[in-house]
């Protein structure tokens, strides 16, 4: 095999996610009354970026063969917190941003400690912590309200040079500064190794705990960034339970669309970003086709089902039926 074929093989999941997104987005834009304009792209980007942050957070945990059902609630909690403290002049705003991100990391730390040292199943641990995070959010914001530093909010949700959505630039910066260093660190390698085969990783002397912990910690950080951006978009904080749950579920769908294996060890957070954009586009597409709102959840579900099925097409080629279960 040539070098590029190995590269293709490594990136297959991410590229599949990209392809699904591009096809969907092309269909969407082609049928949008306004067509491919900076405005359309800008709106789509802002909606997509929120889910992209949460999906990246989910991808980090899924790579270790875990799952994070608290990720949407971390978003809600950090949103409520940001609507209190990311206000005022440059200094208080920066401190507020730092505190919101630190809160996200704290949530991730708690999840990580429960899973790694408490030896709880990730699914159970994060259902419990998710409820706690939502409870805290509700105490912070019993009723929707609050405010945010609007200069910062507008700068991060507007456009650079009139064309490039600055939320996309921020997302790209996070990929460069958080994801890539993680992927290329020993901790990142350990996270993949633990997700792929924990006994083999242990036998090989891989720092499994460090890898998993880093994944949960950074997952919390990314979910906190999502909460921050939610505040920038809405200028308010709201302890919305339904919204938190929806983000959690859609983050799992996005991760699968983006080629991250739920069995762990395979995929990348970049794929999860494409998956998130694709998942968002399923909803927007129906607007472009002017579908009766009553039908939208049903149709969105069907589009999602088809998209996710693309990923399991490989199973049809399996010739040893025992491989189905691996």
């Amino acid at each position: 095999m040539r070098e590029w074929r190995y590269w293709l093989n490594e990136q297959r999941g991410t590229l599949t996610g990209l392809a699904i997104f591009l096809v969907m987005f092309a269909v969407y834009v082609a049928n949008h009354p306004a067509g491919f304009t900076a405005n359309v792209v800008h709106t789509a980007a802002n909606k997509g970026v929120l889910l992209a942050f949460v999906a990246m957070a989910q991808a980090l945990v899924v790579i270790t063969a875990g799952i994070d059902l608290s990720v949407g609630m971390v978003l809600v909690l950090t949103n409520c917190l940001a609507s209190w403290i990311v206000v005022g002049g440059a200094m208080p705003t920066s401190l507020g941003v730092a505190a919101v991100l630190a809160t996200g990391m704290l949530c991730g730390t708690i999840n990580g400690l429960l899973v790694i040292y408490g030896r709880l199943q990730p699914i159970v641990a994060t259902i419990a912590t998710g409820a706690v995070y939502f409870g805290l959010a509700l105490l912070l914001r019993p009723f929707p309200g609050g405010s945010v530093n609007e200069d910062l909010a507008d700068a991060l949700t507007g456009r650079l040079f009139g064309v490039v959505p600055s939320s996309l630039v921020a997302l790209a910066a996070v990929v460069l500064l958080v994801w890539l260093p993680f992927r290329r660190s020993v901790a990142g390698r350990a996270a993949y190794a633990a997700g792929s085969s924990e006994p083999a990783a242990f036998m090989s002397g891989v720092p499994i705990r460090r890898g998993k912990f880093a994944a949960y910690l950074l997952g919390g950080l990314l979910a906190g960034m999502g909460g921050l951006f939610l505040t920038f978009f809405t200028y308010t904080g709201e302890a919305a339970y339904a919204s938190g749950s929806a983000y959690t579920l859609w983050s799992i769908a996005a991760v699968v669309l983006g080629g991250v294996s739920l069995y762990g060890g395979r995929g990348s957070a970049v794929g999860a970003i494409f998956g998130a954009f694709a998942a968002r586009t399923t909803g927007d597409m129906l607007f472009a086709f002017d579908v009766d709102p009553l039908w939208q959840p049903l149709l969105q579900g069907i589009v999602l089902m088809v998209a996710v099925s693309l990923g399991s097409l490989a199973l049809l080629r399996v010739r040893n039926r025992l491989d189905w279960f691996q």
Binding site: M1, E3, Y6, W7, N9, E10, P181, R184, S185, V186, R189, Y192, A193, G195, S196, S197, P199, A200, A201, F202, M203, S204, G205, V206, P207, S261, G265, R266, V318, R319, N320, R321, L322
Partner: protein, 514 residues
């Protein structure tokens, strides 16, 4: 190596004991590993070899006794600590991460770094060097390990151990899946490492490998060391007797007289093939006959059984039962009359048993349709058949309602077999059923096999244990690279014949796709 005075030992074990629950795995074991020597460890399954290695590699901790490295006492709390002390291990159960690339795996625990990040270029170079050192230049460092065949993965495992720059290297059945060409390369590497002053510990069941490689041998039996001696100072039969501690000729029940020749074949394969991993396999099994499958591990024996049981899709050639061709759509169809097949799987923990469920439930799974009426399980009938089986196989269990995972390995295997016998199968396929179970239970299984055959079953029996093939089978088919390369019958089934054909020596350096 020179005949000069013995250098001081690099690693020593003194009075090391280890128990798992009530089972004594090691009892006051001693071991001295000397630099510049290849030290072979011999013993039956369950003799304590694996435990010995695991303690040395930091995977488990001993209950009592001391470990000394360079004469100083050490304690390894994890494999990472043992690796840091210069002890590398090539495990029998591969310690590779399937989703990562070959290069990632070779540099897994301690990759080269620049500014805190993994330096991929340096890592690639390191991997290429390690692969070259192990004689496996054909493996691309970027290939994903899960896409490699077993024999290549084993070479990666060896390269990985070499890459860590060890002072002591442990090889646990490291050649079990290799082709003859690879074995020769690995042996050359090991001899070079010995001359470079590494201490090597070599665990193998293959006497000829040990004869070729080892300088020193230590035999273990029931967790104790029986003897240590210079290689070549004892005959094979002396060593075998040390390993099993008794005459082993009467372990197996007598073979049936070859009356089966008269009977029509129950199961027959013609030119069976699958992908490039099973090729042109033809054989037949008659009523009351036990046909063995031999050869090195991973030459297609397991796949052949899966193909017969309908697990593989897209097989070519034909399978005949009672002389008429059948298309087997899957295990559910295979086990029903008129086929009435049963497959006793090798990995009882994943393919044979539901460990947390009770003995009773596990026993009735495969036969539920026979003891249920209108979808409801007939308790009395279930009770009756289970009692029969427990008695027939002498399953030792605290009760029928304890989780099957609490039974010993041998008794778990009996449950798997009993589960299938409840269906009264006519064709029984066994995939290495005695792996990891004690000698006593093995003997009971041999007796049982013979009784089943006498009652008219046709049995296909894959075993990695040559003695079993010699003692149990009427005929043995030896597989190599997915083909039947030799068929041995009756007294022609000898260890020498099995080994020679298993290594397919004439076929030489050919690579395998298995």
């Amino acid at each position: 190596m020179t005949a000069a005075e013995t250098p001081p030992p690099l690693f020593q074990m003194e009075g090391v004991s280890k128990r798992y629950g009530g089972v004594r795995a090691l009892e006051k074991a001693r071991l001295e590993v000397v630099p510049g020597r290849i030290h072979a460890i011999l013993g039956e399954n369950g003799a304590g070899k694996s435990t010995l290695i695991k303690i040395m590699a930091g995977v488990v901790a001993q209950d009592e006794g001391r470990l000394l490295l360079d004469g100083r006492e050490v304690a390894f709390r994890s494999p990472a600590e043992a690796a840091a002390a210069g002890i590398a291990c090539v495990f029998q159960e591969l310690s590779l991460i399937p989703d990562l690339s070959v290069a990632d795996n070779i540099a897994l625990a301690n990759p080269p770094r620049r500014f805190g990040m993994i330096d991929r270029r340096a890592q690639r170079k390191l991997a290429e060097e390690a692969l070259a050192r192990a004689g496996a230049e054909d493996i691309h460092p970027r290939a994903a390990v899960k896409d490699l065949p077993l024999s290549r993965r084993q070479m990666v495992e060896i390269a990985k151990a070499l890459a860590s720059g060890p002072r002591a290297l442990i090889l646990d059945e490291a050649t079990s899946a290799l082709t003859a060409g690879d074995v020769a390369k690995v042996f050359a590497v090991l001899k070079r490492l010995r001359d470079e002053g590494l201490a090597l510990l070599y665990i193998s069941h293959r006497m000829h490998e040990i004869a070729e490689l080892a300088d020193t041998c230590t035999v273990f039996r029931n967790g104790r060391n029986v003897a240590s001696f210079a290689a070549g100072s004892r005959s094979n039969s002396e060593i075998v007797e040390m390993m099993i501690g008794r005459e082993y000729s009467n372990v197996f029940p007598p073979r049936q007289a070859s009356a089966r020749l008269a009977s029509a074949p129950v199961l027959e394969c013609r030119d069976l093939g699958w992908s490039d991993r099973l090729r042109e396999i033809s054989f037949s099994v008659g009523e009351g006959e036990v046909v063995g499958l031999g050869g090195l591990e991973g030459q297609g024996q397991r796949l052949l059984l899966l193909a017969l049981f309908g697990v593989l899709r897209g097989t070519t050639g034909s399978v005949l039962v009672d002389g008429s061709p059948v298309a087997i759509s899957g295990p559910a169809a295979a086990r029903k009359p008129p086929l009435s097949m049963a497959l006793i799987p090798e990995d009882r923990k994943t393919e044979g048993l539901m460990l947390p469920m009770t003995v009773r439930e596990n026993l009735s799974f495969a036969a539920l349709d026979r003891i249920a009426r209108g979808g409801v399980i007939d308790r009395t009938k279930e009770e009756q058949s289970i009692d029969d089986m427990v008695r027939l196989l002498e399953i030792k269990t605290a009760g029928l309602d304890v989780p099957v995972g609490t039974l010993s390995g041998g008794n778990q295997q009996k449950v798997v077999i009993a589960k299938w016998l409840m269906r009264q199968p006519r064709i029984i396929l066994l995939n290495d059923p005695t792996r990891g179970i004690d000698v006593g239970t093995k003997q009971e299984l041999y007796q049982l096999l013979r009784r089943l055959a006498e009652a008219g079953a046709a049995i296909v029996f894959y075993s990695t244990d040559y003695d079993e093939l010699i003692g149990c089978c009427d005929r043995v088919l030896v597989l190599y690279d997915g083909r039947v390369v030799r068929e041995l019958e009756g007294d022609a089934i000898s260890e020498r014949a099995l080994i020679a054909s298993a290594l397919n020596v004439e076929a030489g350096q050919k690579g395998t796709a298995a």
